[in-house]
């Protein structure tokens, strides 16, 4: 109950800050939304907080998060340029294929972060995830040879290591 109340108060405060004004309509709408959020997330939010890391570990994580976000934005633009080039070609030369890649990540949040990465970067989309065998099913849009497959797999593995350092 304490957790739910804390989440409710924090989200309602954030709601007022972002709404920029306080009146009865804003309060009622905010109360409804924040109560739904607090009911849904109260049990999960506090499990994200890990107390095993000291201050040094915290700053290291911040550094890794910065690396992750910058790499993410860079890859989104590179990938978007490639896909948009195909869109404007007279005859789109797509060479798509579906592959299966095994992951070593165990945490649910790290898997979700990796799915987001795969969907946004290097012409790949995460189609499905096999929870039992820990396989990702990935669709690639422009893979013309085995060398490109290895390059893309290496990139996913690099992101996987980075995400493992943050979440696991």
């Amino acid at each position: 109950m304490k957790k739910k109340l804390l989440i409710f108060i924090l989200t309602l405060a954030l709601w007022f800050v972002l709404a920029g004004k306080v009146n009865i309509h804003v309060f009622l709408l905010g109360a409804i939304i924040c109560s739904i959020i607090s009911l849904m997330l109260a049990d999960n939010v506090f499990s994200f907080v890990q107390k095993k890391h000291e201050l040094k570990g915290f700053f290291k994580k911040i550094y890794y998060i910065f690396l992750l976000i910058s790499s993410f934005i860079y890859d989104v633009f590179i990938s978007a340029i490639r896909v948009s080039r195909h869109a404007f070609e007279m005859k789109p030369s797509l060479s798509s294929r579906t592959v299966r890649i095994k992951t070593s990540l165990e945490n649910l949040n790290s898997n979700a972060a990796l799915v987001n990465f795969i969907t946004f970067t290097q012409g790949s989309i995460a189609m499905d995830f096999d929870h039992l065998n820990r396989y990702y099913f990935i669709h690639w849009i422009d893979v013309h040879g085995e060398d490109e497959v290895e390059v893309k797999k290496a990139l996913i593995s690099k992101h996987e290591h980075l995400i493992a350092k943050i979440f696991d």
Binding site: L18, G20, I73, V76, F77, S79, A80, I81, V83, S84, H86, A87, F88, P92, L94, S95, S96, R97, T98, V99, R100, V115, N116, T119, F120, G123, I125, A126, M127, D128, F137, H139, I141, V143
Partner: protein, 111 residues
């Protein structure tokens, strides 16, 4: 007198807007021209996201450091989270239920 800072800011903002228009246009063109569902999802995820980031960055540059910019950043983060989830759900649904007929290539996995 022309404010130099404002001019440079506006210049960068318009560069972002032009890039955003290009990516959003390529999203629409890709959704029409690409041959099957998954390739269309590629256009709907990457180009849409890059276009969204570009347009929001242009707006933030024009607005400067203000409360409106903070709201724009929140919207951008929301887009970051929701767009891949939507794409993943559509792809996963199609992969598991085979509702939409698609063509397989020889490199695809045996289904």
């Amino acid at each position: 007198m022309i404010d130099f800072n404002l001019s440079v800011r506006q210049l960068f903002a318009f560069v972002f807007f032009i890039a955003g228009i290009y990516f959003l246009l390529s999203t629409a063109v890709g959704l029409i021209r690409f041959p099957n569902l998954y390739t269309r999802l590629h256009a709907g995820s990457k180009c849409l996201m890059a276009g969204g980031i570009s347009v929001f960055m242009g707006c933030i540059l024009l607005e400067g450091i203000s409360f409106v910019s903070l709201k724009l950043i929140v919207i951008m983060v929301f887009l970051f989270i929701t767009n891949p989830i939507a794409i993943h759900v559509i792809a996963s649904f199609d992969n598991n239920y085979n509702l939409i007929p698609k063509t397989y290539t020889k490199e695809d996995l045996d289904k």
